[in-house]
C-alpha cells in the first residue's frame, strides 16, 4: 500500500482531507471503472481514503476537501498550497465552510464542555472557513457532496490543458433539461433551485422534492425575490432564514439573504 511512488511523467495528483465528512472523496472513489482509467493517466500520489499516503510531496494538482476549522488545518493548508501547482477546492466545506460553518458567529466555548466528555481533546477555531479564505484557490467545485461526473470533467479539462468549465447557472436549468415539472409551481414547496448552482443534475426535484441549496449560490441569485416567494407560500421568517442557513450558510450570498430577513424581523 505504501510502496514508493516513482515519477512516471504523468501529472501527480493528491486528494487532501480537511474538516469534512469524506463524502466528496467518495465521489472520486465511487467512479468505479472510470477511476481505473483515470489512474492510468495520472499518478495518484496521496489519497488517504483510497490508499496512497504521501501528504507532503510536491504535486501538479491538489484536490482539497474540507474547511479550515482547526489550528492544525490552518497550518496544513499553507503547506499544501506551497507544494501544489494547482489547488482545487472541492465541496461545500472547502468552498463555503460547510455545515460546520453554522457555528460561526454563535460559537461559545461553554458548548464544548457541555457536549464533550473530554473537552481538552477539542481544538477548534472560532470559525469554519473556506480554503480560499487562507490560500489562493485555482478552481472551486461546489456541492455537498460534489458529483463524480463534475470531478471527472475537471480532471479531464486539466489533462487537456484547458480551464475547467465553471457552470454557475441555476439548478433550474438542469431541472428543465431533464423535463421535471417545477415543484414550486406544482406543489408550492420552498425550492432553493432558483438561487442554487447547478451540478447535481437536479437530484432532489427529480424525486419530487425541493432543492435545499447544497451546491451553494448560483450567479445572479435573486435571494430577495425567492425569500419573498417563500413567505407567500406560508413560511415563517425563521423558516425562510433556515432555507438559506443550511449546508452553505457562510456563502456570502446566502448569509446576506438570511441577515436581511433577520434584520427585517428584528431578530
Amino acid at each position: 500500500m505504501n510502496a514508493p511512488i516513482e515519477h512516471s511523467g504523468k501529472p501527480r495528483v493528491a486528494v487532501h482531507k480537511f474538516s469534512s465528512c469524506d463524502g466528496c472523496q467518495l465521489a472520486f472513489l465511487n467512479l468505479g471503472e472510470d477511476l481505473l482509467t483515470l489512474a492510468g493517466r495520472v499518478d495518484l500520489v496521496h489519497f488517504a481514503e483510497a490508499g496512497p499516503l504521501d501528504p507532503v510531496t510536491d504535486v501538479d494538482v491538489a484536490f482539497v476537501e474540507g474547511s479550515v476549522s482547526t489550528p492544525e488545518d490552518l497550518e496544513r493548508i499553507r503547506h499544501v498550497r506551497a507544494h501544489s501547482r494547482l489547488l482545487i477546492a472541492i465541496g461545500a466545506c472547502a468552498t463555503s465552510g460547510g455545515i460546520q460553518g453554522l457555528r460561526n458567529g454563535v460559537f461559545d466555548a461553554q458548548w464544548v464542555t457541555q457536549i464533550y466528555s473530554h473537552p481538552e481533546a477539542i481544538a477548534s477555531l472560532e470559525r469554519s472557513t473556506p480554503i480560499a479564505s487562507h490560500v489562493k484557490v485555482d478552481f472551486e467545485l461546489w456541492g455537498c457532496p460534489v458529483s463524480g461526473p463534475q470531478m471527472l470533467a475537471v480532471v479531464n479539462s486539466l489533462l487537456l490543458g484547458v480551464a475547467p468549465r465553471d457552470n454557475a447557472d441555476k439548478v433550474c436549468t438542469e431541472c428543465k433539461r431533464q423535463g421535471y415539472p417545477c415543484v414550486m409551481v406544482t406543489r408550492g414547496i420552498a425550492c432553493m433551485g432558483p438561487v442554487t448552482r447547478a451540478g447535481c443534475g437536479a437530484l432532489c426535484p427529480s424525486l419530487g422534492r425541493d432543492c435545499y441549496g447544497c451546491y451553494g449560490p448560483a450567479e445572479n441569485a435573486n435571494t430577495g425575490a425567492l425569500a419573498a416567494q417563500f413567505a407567500r407560500q406560508g413560511l415563517s421568517p425563521q423558516a425562510v432564514v433556515q432555507r438559506f442557513q443550511s449546508i452553505n450558510s457562510q456563502a456570502p450570498v446566502f448569509l446576506a439573504a438570511a441577515d436581511k430577513i433577520r434584520i427585517q424581523n428584528h431578530d
Binding site: D34, T37, L38, G40, R41, L152, A153, V155, N156, S157, L159, L160, R165, A168, D169, K170, C172, T173, K176, R177, Q178, G179, Y180, P181, C182, V183, M184, V185, T186, R187, G188, C191, G193, P194, V195, G208, E219, N220, N222, G224, A225, L226, A228, Q229
Partner: protein
Amino acid sequence: MFSRSDHTGFLPLDQLHRLVARLMQLGYQCLGPAVENGAIVMRELDAPDGLPRGLQAEQAAGRYGLTQDPQHRYFAWANGPQAIKPQTFASKESLWRVERDETGMLQFEAVVSDVPAQAIIGVRACDLAALALQDAHFLRDGRRDPHYARRREQLFLVAVQCAVPAATCFCASTGDGPIPTMGYDLTLSELTEGFVIEAGSDKGASVLDALHLSAATQQQIDDARQQGQAAAAVQTRSLPAHNLRDALMNRLEHPRWDEVASRCLACGNCTAVCPTCFCHAEVDAPALDGHSSQHERIWDSCFGESHGHLHGFNVRPDIRSRYRQWLTHKLATWHDQFGRSGCVGCGRCIAWCPVGIDLTEEVAALTAGEVKP
C-alpha cells in the same frame, strides 16, 4: 375547419382506442398525456386504451394543479409544462464526435441518432403555431438542422381543439388558438358522445380512411365549432393584437424593467417551457481516456450567465438586461427575424414562473399610455 368533407368523420367515444391502435399498427411510438410529478407530460402509451380520462389542469400565475373534470373527458386539460419542443429540439443531444486514430490524426464524424416515428396525441393549436416557428428557425433554407429535421419529419400530430382553456391561456389574442387550423395530421374535437375528427394531411387522411368512420353530422360539426368559439371567449388574459415592436423598443429604459428584475429569479424556467424559445449552448464532453470527445447541444437560456458572455465581458450582466432581452426578443425583434411575434399565447411562462411573473401584465405596464399605430 369542420366543413363536411371526405375527411371529416365522427369517432364515437368508446372507439378512441381504434385510432391509437391504428397508429401503433403503422409503427408509430404513440405519446399521450400522463401524470408525472403533478403535471401533464407526454409519455409513451403502452396500450391503445392507455389515454387517461377526467384530468383538468388548473393554472394561475406561478401555479399548476391537476383537478378532476366533472365531465370525465379525455382532453379537458389545457396543457402541461411542455409543448412539442422536447420531441423535436432535444434538451441535450450529441451533434458530432471526434476520435484520435492510431496515427494521432483527429477523425470527425456526425452523430446521427436513430429516431423512432412518433405520434403525439393531444397537441394544441398553440403548440402547432409554436412548432411552425421552430420549423422557421431550424429548417431555414440553407441552415437546415439535420437533427431537428430527422425528428420533425417522423412526427404524426393528432391535435385537439381546446374546450377548457386555463386561466393563463391567451391564444385567442395572439391568433394562434384555440381551434387548430394548420400543421396537424388529424384534429379532434371532443363532444359528449365522441370526437369530430378531421384530416389535415395526406398521412392523416389515410389513417382516417382506415378507421371507416361515418361522417360527422352537421349538428356535431356545429357543436364543435361553438365549443371552439366558447373556449376563445372565456379567455381572460390577452396581448395587444398589433405589432409591439416599436412600443417595446422605444421603452428600453422604462423603469418597469428594474421593477420586474427585482421579482425575477432569472431561473430560466420561462424559456425552458416556452414552446418557441430555441437558444442552445454547445459543450464538449471528452472521454476520460483522452482519445475521443462528443460535441453536445444543450438547451440554454438568455437568463443564464454564459448566454451573454462575449470575450472578456458579459453584455447582459444583470437580471434587468436578461428579462428585457427575453421579452423584447420574443415580442419585438422576433418580428424582424420571423415576420411575427414569438408568443403563441400558451401561457406556460406565466404558470411555470416560480414567482408568477405574468408576461401580459408586464407588457401592459410597459406599454401603458401607448397610442396604437
